[in-house]
């Protein structure tokens, strides 16, 4: 237990140092996302008007808020694996007696904790831009965001495992980021089957809370259970696949290659 806490603390400290030292690198990603947001927002403004406009814009803002979290979790698992392999530090992480599973989990956890504040700021930036303010309701939103990201973690692990074995999949990883934006933005009413995919159902619930003002207890229990099941299954499959790819990579001595 003590060793795990030390590990978490060590990873958190490393994150803070890297964030501080490479502040502008970290910022440039957010600036890009903000530009995409502006593009969509103003593009939308040109096409849509009338009573629905406000709600749709709110939906977009919620979508971007969740998408940011999604990218953070996802890239912490997939891109960071590429980075560490390239740096030659991946094998070093694998030597830890705590096991790589815990390391990657704590890595996501610590980066999420740090990114949380940044993304909250980003949310306010978007709200100022649109001039419409959403309900934050942390008691309702945080659990939904957390469980939704669990499913995203599954995808991150799956693709991270792929990169261990197949290496050059970077461009594919980037495309997946834009698949995520579709999953986050698409209104479920027009294509209900999408809720079987990861992320979409969670995004829908989050919109119901942040835009329509529901609390988590006002949401149908069946919807919440479905979210938990969906995320757990995606996570289990993703993590299982990761362990499988990892064993292949270890057997073939591919861990350190990039």
């Amino acid at each position: 237990m003590r060793a795990k806490l030390l590990l978490l603390w060590g990873l958190l400290k490393k994150h803070v140092i890297e964030l501080k030292r490479y502040f502008f690198d970290s910022l440039s990603g957010l600036v890009t996302i903000y530009l995409i947001f502006l593009l969509i927002f103003f593009g939308f403004k040109g096409f849509v008007s009338g009573p629905n406009f406000g709600n749709t814009v709110d939906g977009i803002v919620v979508g971007f808020f969740l998408w940011n979290f999604t990218l953070e979790v996802y890239s912490e698992l997939s891109n960071s694996l590429i980075r560490e392999a390239r740096w030659g530090t991946l094998e070093q992480l694998y030597l830890s007696p705590e096991g790589f599973g815990w390391i990657s989990f704590f890595q996501v956890l610590s980066s999420f904790a740090l990114f949380f504040l940044v993304n909250l700021g980003f949310l306010y930036l978007m709200m100022f831009t649109t001039g419409r303010f959403l309900r934050l309701k942390p008691v309702s939103t945080l659990p939904i965001i957390g469980v939704t990201l669990l499913g995203v973690g599954g995808i991150g692990y799956f693709l991270g495992g792929l990169t261990l074995v197949f290496k050059r999949v970077e461009s594919f990883l980037q495309i997946v980021q834009f698949v995520f934006i579709a999953l986050v933005m698409f209104p479920l009413e027009s294509l209900p089957l999408m809720k079987y995919l990861p992320l979409a159902h969670g995004a829908d619930l989050l919109r119901r809370v942040m835009v329509q003002g529901k609390t988590i207890s006002q949401l149908p229990l069946s919807d919440l259970i479905f979210l938990v099941l969906n995320s757990t299954i995606y996570f289990a499959i993703g993590y299982g696949a990761f362990k499988y790819f990892e064993s292949i990579a270890k057997r073939k001595g591919l861990l350190g290659h990039y």
Partner: protein, 240 residues
Amino acid sequence: MKRTSAVLEGNRNVYWRLTPRENLEFFASLHGINPAKKREDIRKLLSSLRLEEKTDTPARKLSRGMKQKLALAAALVREPELLLLDEPTLGLDVQASRDMERRVQELAEEGDLTILFSSHDMDVVEEVCDRVIVLQEGEIVVEDRVENLIDLFRAEGYSLVLDDSLEDAARSPLEEEFDLSFNPNQSEERTEIEASLAEPAEVYRLLERIEEAGAQVISLNRKQPDLEEVFLNIVEGGEK
């Protein structure tokens, strides 16, 4: 094995974005060691590898040799029981390579720590290692102590130079009695001989016979095989 550390081939192994101190603190925490309690050890470790001036410089600004020494420090801060060193001196300048060797040798002598050292540099291996395993195409060809291996090939090899060119008539009885090879490119007034004898005492008999043949010995050298020769013998011969 709970505590294993490694310095793997190439000048990677550490976070280039972090300073040496931050690297060591991070790697300590990776192995359940509280870095706050290791401050003094970390300082000593860095100064023992002559990195103290670079303690707070991001690792990417360090030279290749310094990065490699930092990697060793990062491995040691984890208080390992087994330390894997994969070509740790490859591509280093002479000074860094010496620092590295010296530190590894000290570690080996301090005990407690098992070091698995892989290298193509037989001089370093001979200097640093106790036991050697020679691998060929993934198979273990030889596993023994360094001095045993060198003894094995010491094989009482001598090289002699005589002041006269021996007649064939004088050569053949010598060749019958001993395992000799004459250098065919020698000059007129000399004879160069490579002898490998069954036991050290035979050298006296050989000298007697040479005297009887009427030649004088100018020089006599016992050949000192080093690990590199031993290695080549093993690998080329396929077996000992």
